[in-house]
């Protein structure tokens, strides 16, 4: 209070010349306005207080109500949240159930199809085993074996007829004719013809000797009849070989062109030297294959000898076909005899591959 008093005193004493002059009317007017405003403010404040007094209990009640509503809302939200959780769980459960049902259905279908397939596989496996058994028995190997045996019997029978047609025998001694084979009366023809054996124990085909030595030393002293006999014998051998090969269904490496006593043997793939040699000597011969004569009359002895060699190769081929071995490169009648003997033996039928 003292500073205020000091300030007011200073104002009064120090500034006498700055005094404001106010007209009373103006002062009164402003004072009236101030008074009315102050009164209005007072009234407004009073009214405001009254309204406030009215509002406070309402606000209180409203606050309580809102509190309750909020609580209920919270509870409802919690409930809603739980409901959502439950719904999600329910949806998941339903989806899982659907998935389980679907999987179960698929698995059931798969199991069913697997059972059917397994059953079918079992049946077909059994059928396959049965077929295998039948293949090993009536329907297969047994049938094949029987058929092959019949075939071999037929081949054997036909070969026996060939041996009847061209009997191969051993002739012993010049004076006494003793057949070591089972074919009787074959040598009478030879005797009638006046044939004389050159060597003891030599082989004949249809009573004819095959003297290969004459193929190497041709001279004026060689007997013409002997030449004819050998040519005929070779012709007979060629015919027999041709027949046997056809019945065994063996294509001969060196085919034969039959001409009875003037037969030829063909080499379809001769060596180059022979080809050039033959081409130079015989222009008419086809270069692709060469024919070699199985007779000596009017022929080159070398080519005739080679022809006999090739005929023996054919015999060797047939022997090998029936699992027999050749007796040598220069034993034509012996090999033919071995061939006939082997085919006519019982082993030919029993020893099926």
């Amino acid at each position: 209070m003292e500073p205020s008093q000091i300030l007011s005193l200073r104002t009064t004493t120090t500034d006498p010349d700055h005094v404001k002059v106010i007209q009373w009317d103006d002062f009164q007017h402003d004072l009236a306005r101030l008074a009315s405003l102050s009164s209005a403010l007072h009234e407004a404040n009073e009214k405001k207080r009254n309204l406030q007094y009215k509002l406070e209990p309402l606000i209180q009640v409203n606050a309580e109500s809102l509190g309750r509503l909020n609580e209920l809302e919270e509870m409802r939200q919690k409930l809603e949240s739980k409901k959502m959780v439950m719904e999600n769980m329910s949806i998941r459960s339903r989806l899982a159930k659907e998935e389980a049902s679907k999987q179960e259905e698929q698995l059931s279908g798969a199991v069913q199809s697997l059972l059917v397939a397994g059953g079918a596989l079992s049946v077909t496996s059994r059928n396959l085993q049965e077929s295998n058994r039948l293949l090993s028995e009536e329907n297969g190997y047994v049938h094949l074996r029987k058929l092959q045996k019949m075939l071999r019997k037929r081949q054997q029978y036909m070969t026996s007829q060939i041996s009847m047609l061209y009997p191969v025998k051993i002739v012993v001694g010049p004076a006494q004719e003793q057949e070591l084979e089972a074919y009787p009366l074959g040598s009478l023809t030879g005797t009638s013809a006046g044939l004389k054996p050159i060597n003891q124990g030599s082989l004949t085909i249809h009573g004819l000797h095959l003297n290969v030595l004459s193929f190497r030393k041709m001279s004026f002293f060689t007997d013409k009849k002997e030449i004819q006999n050998s040519a005929t014998a070779l012709g007979y051998v060629a015919h027999a070989v041709s027949l046997i090969a056809s019945y065994l269904q063996v294509p001969l490496r060196y085919p034969l062109r039959l001409g009875t006593s003037h037969s030829y043997i063909i080499d379809n793939a001769p060596s180059t030297e022979l080809t050039s040699s033959e081409a130079s000597s015989n222009a008419n011969i086809n270069a692709k294959h060469v024919e070699f004569p199985l007779f000596l009359e009017g022929q080159d002895t070398t080519r005739a000898a080679y022809a006999v060699f090739l005929l023996n190769k054919d015999l060797e081929q047939l022997l090998n076909f029936i699992d027999a071995k050749s007796l040598g490169p220069r034993h034509v009648l012996a090999n033919l005899r071995e061939l006939l003997r082997t085919i006519l033996s019982s082993a030919f039928i029993d020893n099926l591959i």
Partner: protein, 509 residues
Amino acid sequence: MKKGENKGRTRSFPVDPNVPRWVCQNCRNPLCIVGADSYADKFFNDPSRSGMQGSSIHGASSVLSTTKMDNSYVVLPKQRPLAQGNAPRPRGDAAAQPGKAMEESFVVVYKSESGIDGNGAHLLGTGADSGGHLPPHNSGFNSTITVLTRAFEIATTQTQVEQPLCLDCMRILSDKLDKEVEDVNRDIEAYEACLKRLEGEARDLLSEADFLKEKLKIEEEERRLEAVIEETERQNAEVNAELRELELKSSRFNELEERYWHEFNNFQFQLISHQEERDAILAKIEVSQAHLELLKRTNVLNDAFPISHDGEFGTINNFRLGRLPKIPVEWDEINAAWGQACLLLHTMCQYFRPKFQYRIKIIPMGSYPRITDTNNSTYELFGPVNLFWSTRYDKAMTLFLACLKDFADFAKSKDQENNIPPEKCFKLPYKIENDKVENYSITQSFNKQENWTKSLKYTLCNLKWALYWFVGNTNFQPLSAMVSSHAEVPAVGPLYTKRGVDAKSESRN
């Protein structure tokens, strides 16, 4: 502008030492009020003064109405948030704040009053001193002071502000009050709106009883929901267990399926192997069967000595027999043909010995055949021979015919022995008589080549028939099998007949 006018008025009036001086209670500036003498008297005596005050109050009312309009505009934005649920609380806060502001303004007023009171006492002291010094104006001065003092007190009471105040300060204060009135009016409008809303909402308020009821309902629902959740969880657990079980089953199924496919592949391999093996065996069987059929249809003698014809020529094993003017067949071929014919006929005659009397003997020698007659004379049946030296060749051919006729007669007698009907007994298709075959001579001397060739052709045909008879009646086995051969003859009779017919047709063609 008011301030400017006030300043002008202040400067225009001269300072009168006789007028009492006052201090503004707000800005502490000295001030004096002039022209109040006459009004002082009127003020106390004239009732119209109070009427003027009434008109002033009326003006204040008009100002208040203006303030109300302003407040209504200002309050509207605040009412919009009321739509939200949270509005009441901010509203309460807003209501509280203006109240606090008003209280603060009141506090300010009280302090000013206390200050003014001190100053008033001081001023009164100064007035007294001034009055004592001036005896001639004492009564008028004192009256003025008294009146003004009284007026100031009344004004202080009415305005709640310590008086006197200069005009500037009073106007500033009036403006402030005007604003505060507007603010309070605005608050009043807000309060009224809030009051209306709350009174309107009173019906919707939730009572304690309703609250409890609702709460119980919610709690009950919550319990029910808990139960449902438990149920759902249980179902979920069941389904999960089921899924796990299914997964286990599925894995086991996969194992079984894999094993099945292994077995299937194995089976397929076995099936293919079996099929290949079966096909191989079937192929072998087929080949063997075909081969067997072929061999069964084949006869060795027929195969070794096929007899046919080539135009005018008869052929045996593809060797032509005979010669024509336009077709000179080589001697090698003719010799080969005769060789084959002789070997065949010899083989057949030889087979039936000794039953068959082999009178005329054939000596086959390949391309050099010979024939021996009953007188044991031998004739060559091969060439080359010339027309003038063909006597022996002609003889040989005649002997061949004789031998063939003998064999045919033997065959016929054999059929008769087997009780075959006479019309079906064997008979040559072309009659043989001495050196003629069906009236064609087989000799070459003094004979046309055409006739000779035809005769040879007929001879081969006869030989073919003889061969067919031979094949049909024998197995061409060693003679030790003759007994079985005889036994089989009746069985092959029809076959023989059929073959004969076929052979004849073929020969004729």
